[in-house]
């Protein structure tokens, strides 16, 4: 029994369906994430990628389906889960600084009423440093660039010290420095044996950044290792006719038209 619990996959989703006003946005999706892998969740606009992520986290209600995290309910395993929401989901003019936002990653473990102390501050500084943002710790968050804001969100998730991470479009609209920082971070998480599920939109980088891929278009089209699953046929199935396969310097790359 104990062995089984240890071997339980980081995330197992079965038959999850989300509907907004009777229209299914995500339909009957089932998959299991392998431990210690970087997983891309890709699909066309409106395919329900973010919705699926939010449904797994219980942020939007699902009409059917089960989610199990390390073999148990999300409620019980909450401490092992870190979450990076889309950057646009908050008001960056909020009166707070980068360090304070990162410390929010500790609120779940702090419990009620207790304020973050020196330990939380140190941890927050360490994670800020990991994303290359230590010098901006006391900067008001509206004074940060989009990429820097994204890195603050990543640092906050790191501060959660989780085993399974969910990231909603972390690469969307970021500068080159941030993209590099995120990739380095993903590598580090992988080496530490963490599992990361990333909603991703840039098909040309999937092979380079990820091990495993989920192809979604309302339904789950395919799932598996990048080498065997990220194929032109599967992509056509997912994106319909809106795809072109471009050969760049001898290497085959897939681009969205």
């Amino acid at each position: 029994m104990n062995m089984q619990a240890k071997q339980a996959p980081p995330l197992a989703v079965s038959g999850i369906t989300v509907a907004y006003q009777r229209k299914a946005v995500v339909e009957d999706v089932s998959f299991t994430l392998p431990e210690g892998k970087l997983v891309a969740l890709i699909g066309p606009n409106g395919a329900g990628k973010s919705t699926l992520l939010k449904a797994v986290l219980g942020l939007v209600p699902s009409v059917a389906g089960e989610v199990s995290i390390y073999g148990d309910s999300y409620k019980k395993m909450r401490d092992r889960v870190g979450y990076v929401p889309q950057r646009e989901s908050v008001d960056w003019d909020f009166p707070t600084d980068a360090l304070d936002v990162v410390m929010m990653g500790r609120y779940g473990r702090l419990g009620w009423i207790k304020r973050p102390g020196r330990r939380e501050k140190e941890l927050a500084m360490t994670t800020l440093d990991k994303v290359g943002m230590a010098e901006f710790a006391r900067r008001q968050i509206s004074q940060l660039s989009g990429g820097q804001q994204q890195r603050v969100f990543l640092a906050r998730a790191l501060a959660q010290e989780a085993d399974l991470y969910f990231m909603d479009e972390p690469f969307a609209g970021v500068d080159a420095a941030t993209e590099k920082a995120i990739i380095a971070l993903l590598g580090e998480l992988k080496r530490a044996g963490k599992t990361v599920l990333v909603v991703h939109h840039d098909l040309s980088t999937v092979e380079e950044y990820f091990d495993h891929v989920l192809l979604l278009n309302k339904k789950l089209i395919a799932e598996g290792p990048v080498e065997t699953t990220f194929t032109p046929e599967r992509l056509h199935e997912t994106y319909g006719g809106k795809l072109a396969i471009v050969s760049a310097d001898g290497r085959e790359t897939v681009v969205r038209q």
Binding site: P85, S89, D97, W112
Partner: protein, 316 residues
């Protein structure tokens, strides 16, 4: 001026009223900061206008004027109004702001009809209920001031104890839900506290204007700081100053309503903040822009000078 201030303080009755209004402004300013940051400013207005029928029903049922009863009436009516707003926006395609507009005016309409009815009935003409429209601090009695004190302590204590939770649900409710905070419960708690602030404020400031005590001090405070704890402090002080000046000035003459004066004072503080606050204020921004422009112009002159020198060198 000084004589006037001394006379305010020496009259025990006025002193009480002054204290009550100051505390009210303090508590409203602090809790209103969260309302402001959550972009729910219209909600305060809805709660306030909805309070009128609540107060009227409380009076009709008991035929006495009592701050506690009116507070309860205003609270219940506020909760009913919020329920209506969320029902409308859930079951129809109408957006919350429109739903609030509908509910706010509907409740206020009912309240006004009730108020007119009470005014024309026998016992009602002395009820002083009409004062609830624009507020009359002078009508407060000692027990009212005690109520205001209790309310302020409650608001400030709640804002301090639940500071980190309220901050998180205001900044990033999705993340808050993700880490297991009972976001809906906290949101309702904040809503109840806002309703309490509004209900407590209507006697002094009136249903029409009491929402200003939640929003205007917070909006002014935002200009002075980029830190939430400091913002709460600024908003509290601005609210207290507004409440105090409203109460003080309305003692100058019979029939000067407290609410409008309080709101004018708060708006004055807001205008000063908007113009003169360091860094975020309009003046400071304009100066900074001018400085940048001058600096750029200087460096442009230098660059073109260097360019000319280089070209001259080439020609030679």
């Amino acid at each position: 001026m000084l004589d006037w201030l001394i006379s305010l303080w020496s009259d025990p009755n006025t002193r009480w009223i002054l204290m009550g209004c100051t505390l009210l402004g303090l508590g409203s300013g602090v809790i209103g900061s969260f309302t402001f940051l959550r972009r729910e400013s219209l909600l305060g207005d809805t709660l306030a206008h909805a309070a009128l029928p609540g107060v009227c029903v409380a009076f009709m049922l008991h035929e006495v004027k009592s701050a506690g009863l009116f507070l309860a009436g205003a609270l219940l009516a506020g909760v009913a109004a919020v329920f209506c707003v969320s029902a409308i926006s859930r079951w129809s395609k109408i957006k919350p702001d429109a739903a609030m507009g509908i509910v706010l005016t509907f409740f206020f309409g009912i309240g006004t009809v009730m108020l007119t009815h009470i005014q024309h009935s026998g016992s009602g003409s002395q009820s002083g209920l009409d004062k609830y429209l624009f507020g009359q601090a002078a009508a407060m009695v000692t027990s009212d001031v005690y109520t205001l004190m209790g309310v302020s302590v409650l608001l400030i204590a709640a804002a301090m104890l639940l500071f980190k939770e309220f901050k998180l649900i205001s900044f990033d409710p999705g993340f808050a839900r993700g880490i297991g905070l009972p976001v809906a419960l906290l949101e309702h708690g904040l809503l109840i506290l806002t309703t309490v602030a509004v209900a407590a404020g209507i006697q002094a400031v009136g249903v029409v204007l009491v929402a200003a005590l939640l929003i205007t001090p917070a909006a002014a405070a935002r200009y002075w700081t980029d830190r939430l704890p400091a913002m709460l402090a600024f908003a509290g002080v601005f609210g207290a100053l507004s409440g105090a000046s409203g109460a003080a000035i309305s003692t100058l003459g019979e029939g000067i309503p407290t609410g409008p004066v309080t709101v004018l004072a708060a708006t004055l503080l807001f205008a000063v903040s908007l113009l003169l606050a360091p860094r975020r204020g309009l003046l400071s921004r304009a100066l900074r822009r001018r400085g940048l422009r001058a600096e750029y112009a200087r460096s442009a002159v230098q660059r073109s000078g260097a360019l000319e020198a280089a070209e001259g060198g080439e020609r030679r």
